[in-house]
């Protein structure tokens, strides 16, 4: 086994990987950009090296610099996390050429799954159903022609894509030219590649994915499914396992096909097979994510398997410690992705200093966080601040626990997604398991004030703060006043003595 691991990522996932390494007694190396000198991953690693300015293409995407750091520090393996270079076959090859172990799949498997056309052909040949669509890299004229054949609504997707970037839903043929432009620009900005392709939009579908683990000796298993239908602009907001939509029979069938899809490209290490599941239990292969997923802890909580540690073992050439029969789903887990976005203002990204932070704790709660009190949240990177996970014996217990934990979470200084996730936990369709990927658009209206039960409380708080501020303004000359207890404390004490 290698002795020292370089983590080529930042934020909560870098911290997650560092923890797994430290638990296995491995030395760790972090890399950081100008914006991240005091980030949590730098503080958590044994060593940390500067690799460039804040924009990711000048730092976290610089293959040459990252490999230089690995050589300099004598790290023998690199974990790419998710995003950045995680699905870049060129990076995996560069690692191999430099004699470094890339903790992920072989570059050939990455290429086969990264090219959506090859991926579809390969898994189709293995007997896995796929969604109708076009080749990638088509011109706008070809897209306009193909769109009529596929039919509306359809999806424009970035060939190099993932994570919803460069993706657009088109319902009306007239919208197609404008959406093509937007998708290409976004894809160019995110991946440096503006090739796109079209795909039929399977309506009222759920997004169900299977976690795969495969070793280099040909053993491939799945760790059950994750339900990831609660999405906004194709960015997942809430994930859970198991899915209420699957019965044992369907789980068995989808799981077997997921394993076949992974085997079809000679997959090794952790990966995820994504399916769309319609209301009639038809399912289609969507794509394979050839990396560790953001939501992997959901599976860890219901299976008890530490996926990152398994990745390290697999990369070291060890055999899987589990057979398919060993994998048992116990209880229910839910994850909320806590992002720095303002749900009351069209989810606009929010930046600033985190002036106060209290993570939820208590039974069944897990927080995977990249923030700390005093940290500056910049706009350079993904808005994911942290992941809040809960486990419960049943789905109902997990939902109640998530409500409780969200209510304990205090992140002051930036706007976060917490209010909307709290509201979703109270939504009858979510509680009833009645939802699909259009839930946030169609069945759920984020409401700033709900039923307005706290109107009086809000009015009182605002009036008292306004009053206090005015009193301060008019009595500023009496400087001693600010050193004594606040008038409200005195008032409260007096009130309590009545």
């Amino acid at each position: 086994m290698f002795k020292k691991v370089l983590v080529a990522n930042r934020g909560e996932i870098a911290v997650r990987i560092l923890r797994a390494c430290h638990e296995r007694g491995l030395a760790t190396v972090a890399v950081y950009s100008e914006a991240d000198r005091t980030a949590l991953h730098v503080r958590s690693a044994d060593e940390a090296y500067y690799i460039g300015p804040a924009p990711s293409r000048e730092s976290y995407l610089r293959i040459d610099k990252i490999i230089d750091v690995a050589k300099k520090t004598k790290a023998t393996a690199i974990h790419p996390g998710y995003g950045f270079l995680a699905e870049n076959a060129g990076f995996a090859r560069a690692c191999a050429e430099a004699g470094l172990v890339f903790i992920g799949p072989p570059p050939e498997a990455m290429v086969a799954m990264g090219d959506k056309v090859i991926a579809r052909q390969t898994v189709k040949a293995a007997g896995v159903p796929v969604v109708p669509g076009t080749e990638e890299g088509i011109s706008d004229e070809q897209a306009l022609g193909a769109a009529n054949k596929i039919g509306f609504p359809l999806l424009i997707k970035a060939a190099a894509g993932g994570g919803g970037k460069g993706m657009r839903v088109v319902r009306d043929p007239d919208e197609l030219p404008r959406s093509l432009g937007a998708a290409r620009r976004e894809a160019m900005g995110a991946f440096g590649d503006d090739r796109i392709y079209l795909e039929k939009l399977v309506e009222n579908a759920r997004h169900i994915e299977f976690q795969i683990l495969a070793d280099s000796q040909g053993n491939t298993i799945h760790l059950g499914e994750r339900e990831c239908s609660i999405q906004r602009r194709h960015q997942k907001l809430i994930e859970e396992a198991p899915s209420v939509a699957l019965n044992e029979e369907l789980r068995l069938k989808m799981g077997e096909l997921a394993v076949k899809a992974a085997q079809a490209v000679g997959y090794v290490n952790a990966g995820t097979i994504e399916f769309l599941l319609d209301q009639n239990n038809n399912f289609y292969f969507l794509e394979m994510n050839t990396r560790l997923q953001v939501e992997h802890p959901v599976t860890e909580m219901v299976t008890g398997i530490d996926i990152v540690k398994e990745q390290l073992r697999i990369a070291a050439g060890r055999k899987l410690r589990y057979t398919q029969e060993d994998v048992k789903i116990n209880g229910h887990a839910i994850e909320c992705r806590i992002t720095s976005e303002d749900p009351f203002n069209n989810f606009l990204p929010s930046s600033g200093r985190v002036t106060a932070l209290t993570d939820p704790t208590g039974p069944g709660v897990r927080v995977e966080s990249g923030v700390y009190e005093g940290m500056e949240v910049s706009l350079y990177y993904d808005p994911l601040l942290a992941k809040l996970l809960v486990w419960g014996e049943t789905r109902a217990e997990a939902i109640l626990r998530m409500r409780r934990a969200l209510n304990e979470y205090r992140i002051i200084g930036v706007h976060t997604s917490i209010p909307i996730q709290f509201q979703i936990m109270n939504s009858p369709s979510f509680i009833g398991g009645q939802f699909d990927t259009t839930f946030l658009e169609k069945r759920f209206t984020p409401s700033s004030i709900g039923d307005g039960q706290y109107m009086h409380l809000a009015a009182v708080v605002a009036a008292m703060l306004f009053h206090e501020r005015r009193q301060h303004a008019t009595t500023r000359i009496m400087t001693t006043a600010s050193q004594g207890p606040s008038p409200w404390k005195i008032a409260g004490r007096r009130g309590a003595m009545r």
């Binding site: 970037k165 937007a182 620009r185 976004e186 900005g189 995110a190 602009r233 009351f344 203002n345 069209n346 606009l348 990204p349 929010s350 930046s351 002036t355 106060a356 706009l379 350079y380 990177y381 993904d382 808005p383 969200l406 209510n407 205090r410 002051i412 200084g413 209010p419 909307i420 996730q421 709290f422 509201q423 109270n426 409401s447 700033s448 004030i449 709900g450 307005g452 706290y454 109107m455 009086h456 409380l457 809000a458 009015a459 009182v460 708080v461 605002a462 009036a463 008292m464 703060l465 306004f466 009053h467 005015r470 606040s486 409200w488 404390k489 008032a491 409260g492 007096r494 009130g495 309590a496």
Partner: protein, 166 residues
């Protein structure tokens, strides 16, 4: 002391007494408000019920109050300003120029309007890229584009005026 609080399209008169006794209209409350972090987080005991709220003060007596996944935007006015406001709103209708500001720093990737374009409320007027996502900046209300202050490819700061509507 009497204040007028506007929230959820309603106005509540709030009387603040000297001892933490507060009245909303005719409903009396005992209120005890304590700062937890010296900035934004408060513990409130309202008639002995315990709440925790986060407060974000804005301009002109605006307080954004976050309570259990809900956001209450409350504007507080004292008696004098309330009266001034009534006189003003009678004198002028809701007209004039409105700047559309950047809600965050970012890169302008497109400006889908021109000077003179008549826009509806909610119509996208600038596409701003931040955090690798394109964000549509929309017109806060209907109007005509009077000035465009940014061009494609330009980096803008938070609160920078992008477009002036009239």
């Amino acid at each position: 002391m009497r204040y007028h609080t506007d929230l959820c399209e309603q106005t509540f008169a709030v009387d603040i007494g000297p001892d933490g006794d507060v009245k909303i209209g005719d409903t009396p409350y005992m209120a005890d408000l304590r700062s937890i972090d010296g900035k934004a987080l408060y513990s409130v005991l309202l008639n002995d019920r315990s709440y925790e709220v986060t407060v974000e003060p804005g301009e002109g007596g605006l307080y954004n109050i976050f309570i259990e996944g809900e956001l209450y935007s409350v504007t507080v006015l004292d008696e004098l300003h309330k009266r001034l406001q009534r006189i003003e709103s009678r004198a002028h209708g809701p007209t004039g120029e409105i700047p559309v500001k950047a809600p965050m720093p970012g890169l302008v990737v497109a400006v889908p309007v021109e000077v003179g374009t008549v826009v509806k409320a909610g119509q996208p007027v600038v596409i701003l890229e931040a955090m690798k996502m394109e964000n549509e900046i929309r017109a806060p209300r209907a109007g005509t584009v009077k000035t465009i202050k940014v061009t494609k490819g330009q980096a803008v700061n938070k609160d920078e005026a992008l477009i002036i509507l009239e």
